[in-house]
């Protein structure tokens, strides 16, 4: 089940979201639960392909808990109500901790290292190790507590300090963002295409500060603004080169 949980989003679709993925993860457990009753197994797998959603790393919590409920002979209606009840909270918990805090912090660690002059593999490896330490733990721990606690999983999840962990990651991320922005803006970055021969002029520092403020103000919309600036720079450069 743990290995299959890595492919839980393999058939992500706009109708049942990761419903089929959950059934795929549950299949080995259901085969044991319904051993010798092929028709009951077919019906159970069919039921579990219905709409379900969760953060992918916490889907193992739901899979473990559902496997436990099926093994305990809990009625299908109760299992369906349980799935509907946990899918929202498993999504929100994971999205906030992983996508919003942990991943940006881990990426910024790798970026900061490369910008400060570390070898490419040091930055990439640091990012992958830090990020996946939490990721792999969430999958394995989630499956274990799901199988152990079944219907009581909500109580167990409430006791885990996800919010505190997210807050610590946000603090580290903000520090690393400042560090990486300053090194990149300084013109001394350890990345050849971003270096400025001869050092920075005060005007360049001012521009870097403005860029940082613009980035903070625009958030994800900075992509469009940066692409526009780069496109204009390309056109202007080509025109200048020919005159």
């Amino acid at each position: 089940m743990l290995l299959r949980s890595f492919a839980v989003q393999g058939s992500w679709n706009y109708q049942t979201l990761i419903g089929t993925g959950l059934a795929f993860v549950l299949a080995p457990a259901l085969k044991e639960v319904y051993a010798g009753d092929a028709e009951a197994l077919r019906r159970a797998l069919g039921r579990h392909t219905e709409l379900f959603n969760s953060h992918p790393y916490l889907a193992s919590v739901a899979a473990g808990a559902v496997a436990r409920l099926e093994a305990d002979g809990v009625p299908a209606e109760t299992v369906a109500r349980f799935k509907a009840a946990v899918r929202g909270s498993l999504g929100t918990l994971g999205d906030r901790l992983v996508w919003l805090m942990w991943r940006p912090m881990s990426v910024l660690l790798g970026l900061a290292l490369v910008l400060a002059g570390a070898a490419w593999w040091v930055g990439a490896l640091a990012f992958l190790l830090v990020f996946n330490a939490l990721h792999l733990w969430m999958r394995a721990w989630g499956l274990r507590i799901g199988l152990r606690d079944g219907l009581q999983i909500g109580r167990t999840l409430k006791g885990v300090p996800f919010a505190q962990l997210g807050d610590r990651a946000a603090q580290a991320g903000a520090l690393l963002a400042g560090f990486a922005a300053a090194v990149a803006g300084s013109g001394h970055a350890g990345v050849p295409g971003l270096q400025l021969p001869g050092g920075m002029h005060p005007v360049e520092w001012g521009l870097a500060l403005l860029a940082a403020l613009l980035g903070i103000a625009l958030g994800p919309r900075i992509r469009g603004a940066a692409a526009l600036a780069m496109g204009l720079a390309l056109v202007a450069g080509l025109v200048l080169a020919r005159t």
């Binding site: 392909t49 910024l108 400060a116 090194v183 992509r223």
Partner: protein, 224 residues
């Protein structure tokens, strides 16, 4: 085309695998532009050059959130293509201009990739929509694996498109006399703005920590 046929095949294979990592299988984050571009560079023997394109693309991808059914740009396969082509073209006549073109093509492909992911998810309904009756374990596995195979092919095709377009553009472009320093400044400022945009994710309460980090970064930059 700048890459050899063997290099192109390897880069396309990596692009397909990276596309799978993005959503379908693993999500170990080797699909982040930062890592994917280094892998593209590695395929042509120059990972340190590949990651240069990855740093710019990653900075501009930091604040993108893959939450729920949201439609978002896909960073992995375009970064593989950009990293590979930029690295294979190294040392370029005009480093900043070449990097600028690689990044712009990758940004455009990220949008195409995002659209193709949305189309795949619509198409997956046929494969993985809820059945009226029950299913055997084999049927469930089939419903799960077929979309993954299509996702791999989608990522590989997107990467091939990036390699071809970027290779053609860099071969056709004449960057002699190009104002390198000005373009380098635009790239640098884009990285600064992109990195700072991540601060929005962490919340206003942590803005002072950004300043502390910036002071430390300025100190390190002064030392190196």
């Amino acid at each position: 085309m700048i890459l050899t046929a063997a290099e192109t095949a390897l880069v396309v294979l990596i692009g397909g695998l990276v596309a799978l990592d993005g959503t379908s299988v693993g999500q170990l984050m080797v699909s982040r532009p930062f890592v994917a571009a280094a892998l593209g560079g590695l395929a042509v023997g120059r990972p340190a050059q590949g990651i240069v394109a990855g740093v710019v693309l990653e900075a501009l991808h930091l604040a993108v959130l893959p939450v729920g059914a949201a439609k978002y740009p896909e960073g992995g396969p375009p970064a593989v293509a950009a990293g590979a082509v930029y690295a294979s073209n190294f040392p370029p006549v005009a480093a900043a201009a070449t990097l600028l073109v690689a990044v712009l093509v990758a940004l455009a492909l990220e949008q195409v990739g995002g659209r193709s992911v949305a189309l795949l998810r619509q198409w997956n309904v046929r494969f993985a929509g809820a059945p009226g009756a029950g299913l055997t374990p084999g049927q469930v596995a089939g419903r799960q694996l077929a979309p993954m195979a299509v996702d791999f092919a989608r990522g590989a095709l997107l990467t091939l498109l990036g390699v071809l377009v970027l290779g053609w553009l860099l071969r056709a472009a004449d960057f002699s006399g190009f104002p390198e320093i000005a373009v380098g400044t635009i790239l640098r400022l884009s990285v600064v703005a992109g990195v700072a945009s991540a601060l929005r994710l962490f919340g206003r309460a942590h803005y002072p920590l950004f300043l502390v980090g910036a002071a430390a970064g300025a100190g390190v930059a002064w030392l190196i």
